[in-house]
Amino acid sequence: MDINEIIKPENLVYSKPTLLNDNTMHYCPGCSHGVVHKLIAEIVEEMGMTQDTIAVSPVGCAVFAYNYVDVDWIEAAHGRAPAVATAAKRLNPNKLVFTYQGDGDLAAIGTAETIHACNRGENITIIFINNGIYGMTGGQMAPTTLEGMVTATCPYGRTPELNGYPLHISELVAKLAGACYVTRQSVHNVAAIRKAKKAIRQGFENSMAKKGTSLIEIVSTCNTGWKMSPDKANAWMEEHMFAEYPMGDLKNV
């Protein structure tokens, strides 16, 4: 069968969501951010909330997320996205409000904002991209960096005596009464991406149903910061990151 007979609009089964616009993303080849952006665009479209979404972008690689997903965005100061989202949601209770943050933003400088927003039970969704490294600034050690992992600022590997232990934000947040849904997902293969999509959708639905804060941690790769090819980075993540950050729901009420 000729390929041109298959490629017809009625046979289309998958394509880029229309909410993800045509700007070429600045992310490195194979970066997990792109997949998560795509999932968000798909979910917002499916929920019919394209005109009623306020997203808050962080400081970090995802700072330019507002160039790619065609919803309304606010750019927050470093780490303050949950505080900005709190105001946005309280003033616009009918809007879908979510933050999109990396581990340098959410787990380091923004730990206080994250924990207090979750403890207040703000009706927002926090999407937390955890790749264990500061990607944008050149691969320095983050609070989530694994023990023994080599980064620009711990060239002999992270040691607990000098640098402390990896910070498990999801486990911390799961203990808070205001958080209604805390889950850890990844986007390294098709099955994981489908599960992550369901988790993000549930988070968004929780925030619209005023159930409390949802935190969706997505363990992801930074192949440039880790100095690996994208597929090797995925394999390394499965081997090392998943041992420290196990997948699954930590809290779902």
Partner: protein, 75 residues
Amino acid sequence: MAKIKGAIIVNTERCKGCNLCVVACPSKVLALQPQKVNNKGYHYAFMQNPDDCIGCASCGIVCPDGCISVYKVKL
């Protein structure tokens, strides 16, 4: 049993040649261009064995840049 045939279109200018679709494809249809590059200098993905495509959309789902559109027909 109904036979299924698929095909994909790669947005070659958007593709960054990250190789994730090549790894994700269950029927080993895809490969990166060995010689040709796009305007940004990336070796973009293409269908090396187009006859084996089953239109499962794995490549499209894992593509971080949303470059791949998947088409499927039942014969």
